[in-house]
Amino acid sequence: MDMLVDIVSWVLLLIGGFFVFVGGVGVLRMPELYTRMHASGLTDSIATSLILVGLMLQGGFSLIGLKLVAILIFMLLTGPTSSNALASAALLAGNKEEGAQQGDKKV
């Protein structure tokens, strides 16, 4: 039973790490601002959830597990909100959506 919990938590942590890596590569390689924000939003939502659930399995039903649940709820609330605020600010600053032919936009 312990072994099973360990294996599942390892798998979740590794998949979460893979999504963080994908998000990082996306921020570097995407052509313009909005697609880059979309890639970085990956790390806010799915990667954080997977890593924290993996850690919760390691922590068990203790105070540490409860604190991790609170952290997960907080990150799920504020991460996507900050991506939304960033995108709204970019739109307000006049950064209209442009095609990939424009090339990289230096922010």
Partner: protein
Amino acid sequence: MTVLFGGFLLAMLVITALAMVQTRNLFVAVMLGGIFSLLIATVFFMLDAADVSLTEAAVGAGISTVLFLGALSLTSDHEHSKTTIRPLAIIIVIITMLLILMSTFDFPFIGDPQSLVQNHVGAEYLAKTPEFIDIPNVVTAVLGSYRGYDTLGEVFVVLTAGVGVLFLLGKAPPPGCYRNKPADTEGLSHYLIPRLVGRLVIPFLILFGLYVQFHGEYSPGGGFQAGALIAAANILYALLEGEKSALQVVPHKWLMGMIASGALLYGLVGVTGILLGGNFLDYSVLSEDPVKGQQLGLLIIELGVGITVTGVLLSIYHAFASRGKI
């Protein structure tokens, strides 16, 4: 494995510092400064300094970034000068760096149990705290009781900085300075999502700040971190709802009262020590049992520190954010 991770974090620190210095766009530099603070908070945590890591994350990555952005909105956010290389500066910097690197070979390596830092005073604080003060968090015990006089000085430094900024930015700006700045009457109120989530999250931020304040004797925490957290919650409210609403919720008079009363509370605890027969800032005489007296004294002075830090950080933010607009 931890050694490798530590090395990776330190390399990222150096890269971020180089990028911060080299970029000409000041907004990018301030954001990189926030990333630098968060990275160095992680390094502090890996070096087993939990209190310091919490303070650096709250103050460095949170409040400092907001204050820099507030100042940037009042000045320009691009650096004008061409990148000229100053050869004399580079030569001096390289020579000094080589001198420091040469001298590090005489230091004890990191983690050495025989080094001078671990013995003498530090070891004595660790040994004597269960007997005299009896709280788990030794850093709070040292900060509040053994080095209580230093902390009193620090509260007064924070108060002086607040008073200084209020002197500098208290008078109205010269006319015609900010003529093309829009008046900030509503903050972000036509952005639905940040406003809604902000309203959900702010009460819990304040609750967490109070938890950190009063739990400072049992876990990493204390007055400074709590002051920064509660100030950050108020700054979030000011950003979302606009300056006018924020100054109605916590008016200027209350902020002045908070700045002064925190430091006053600290000083009063010290003077009460004298009146009850002990020395200045001697908490053992505050109650029948000296250990309980120490704990009571620590609680009250941490409260004083938290109140002053909240008041100062919030009034500095309002001084920057409402300049020339209201």
